[in-house]
């Protein structure tokens, strides 16, 4: 009997807490924050090629769920492509961030301008 009582109480507690926490999220988050964590804390496990692969998979999942890609993900992806030297994919991802979130325009345009200036210097 005491065991049953505890089990009931534990279940009730879980339900009540779930009631406080449950909410519909706007975005699908996938691996984004874990990748940021790993890039800082265990860099070996999150090189840019791996991150690109996981973020692209997340973007597909978000689209499959009919959810908008979360703020920052395309910009992070654009940065990773730049690290890999894939300039056109980098620009495309940055533009996508800007299209989804016009709030990013100043920052993204600044980065694209500096990238352009660097290219010109190298020529």
């Amino acid at each position: 009997m005491p065991m049953n009582l505890w089990r009931t109480l534990a279940l009730l507690g879980i339900f009540l807490m779930a009631g406080c926490a449950t909410k519909q999220e706007i975005y699908y988050w996938g691996e984004y924050e874990q990748l940021i964590h790993d890039a800082y804390i265990k860099p070996g496990s999150a090189d840019s090629a791996t991150q690109i692969e996981k973020l692209n998979a997340d973007i597909q999942k978000a689209e499959a769920m009919g959810k908008k890609v979360a703020p920052g993900i395309y910009a992070h992806l654009g940065f990773l492509y730049a690290v890999e030297g894939k300039d056109s994919q980098s620009k495309a991802a940055f533009r996508q961030e800007e299209t989804l979130y016009p709030e990013s325009t100043v920052f993204i345009e600044g980065m694209l301008n500096r990238a352009r200036q660097n290219e010109e210097k190298q020529l």
């Binding site: 706007i26 984004y32 940021i36 964590h37 979360a70 920052g72 993900i73 100043v106 920052f107």
Partner: protein, 218 residues
């Protein structure tokens, strides 16, 4: 006394305690926040007053989601950190001193979230270990420099206690289940709990941003 009545009496304080956990105390003054109505937030890598050297970047990795889910555009935290480092600011201490007009000019954010970590990580005590996450958050308007919102994100859990405390046991039961499927470091999970509690608090949480569906028409 019948069993069912006894059961009800056991439930009652439990429900009251848990329900009171969802609400907080005094209402917050949102005058500046309502006037500013920021759309975008840049999170500056946190200052660290704890002894855990990894705390700032572990914590930074947990802040995008709750802010974006609150309806704000959140600048890509890793890219911003890289950008600041490239521009001669190698550590969070220096990054926290950037003049607001520079943030406006180069990042274009409406608001800055300044974070200071006060305590972080696991401490071993006599018969148990206690893990703590404790940070202060300050949201500042980039154009006016006014404080829009501030709060404390705090969470803690201990292992080895719970024998006498009912709520503790309930929480532990849930936490143990979660732990089974996650990595050993509990601080990111605790930080997420702390962030959600601070940002979503009914009475002194952040106001909804423009991407929050219920807020879209305002």
């Amino acid at each position: 006394m019948s069993n069912s009545i006894r059961l009800c009496l056991l439930f009652l304080p439990c429900i009251i305690l848990i329900a009171s956990g969802c609400a907080t105390t005094t209402p917050y003054d949102y005058t500046a926040f309502k006037k500013s109505r920021p759309r975008s937030i840049v999170v500056i890598p946190p200052m660290n007053n704890s002894i855990e050297v990894n705390a700032p970047y572990i914590y930074l990795s947990t802040l995008t989601r709750p802010l974006a889910e609150k309806g704000y555009y959140v600048f890509p935290v890793f890219v911003i950190d890289y950008f600041l480092k490239e521009n001669g600011l190698p550590t969070p201490a220096e990054m926290n001193g950037i003049p607001l007009d520079k943030i406006g000019e180069h990042i274009g954010a409406d608001a800055v979230l300044y974070v200071s970590i006060e305590d972080w990580g696991q401490k071993y005590q006599l018969i148990q270990s206690v893990t703590k996450v404790h940070a202060t958050l300050k949201l500042v308007d980039v154009k006016s420099g006014e404080l829009l919102w501030d709060s404390t994100a705090i969470a803690q859990e201990s292992s080895g206690d719970g024998g006498s405390d009912l709520i503790g046991m309930l929480v532990m039961a849930v936490i143990d289940q979660v732990l089974d499927s996650t990595i050993a470091d509990p601080t990111p999970r605790l930080a997420r709990q702390a962030n959600n509690a601070a940002i979503d608090s009914q009475l002194r949480g952040m106001l909804d941003g423009p991407y929050k569906p219920s807020n879209a028409k305002e």
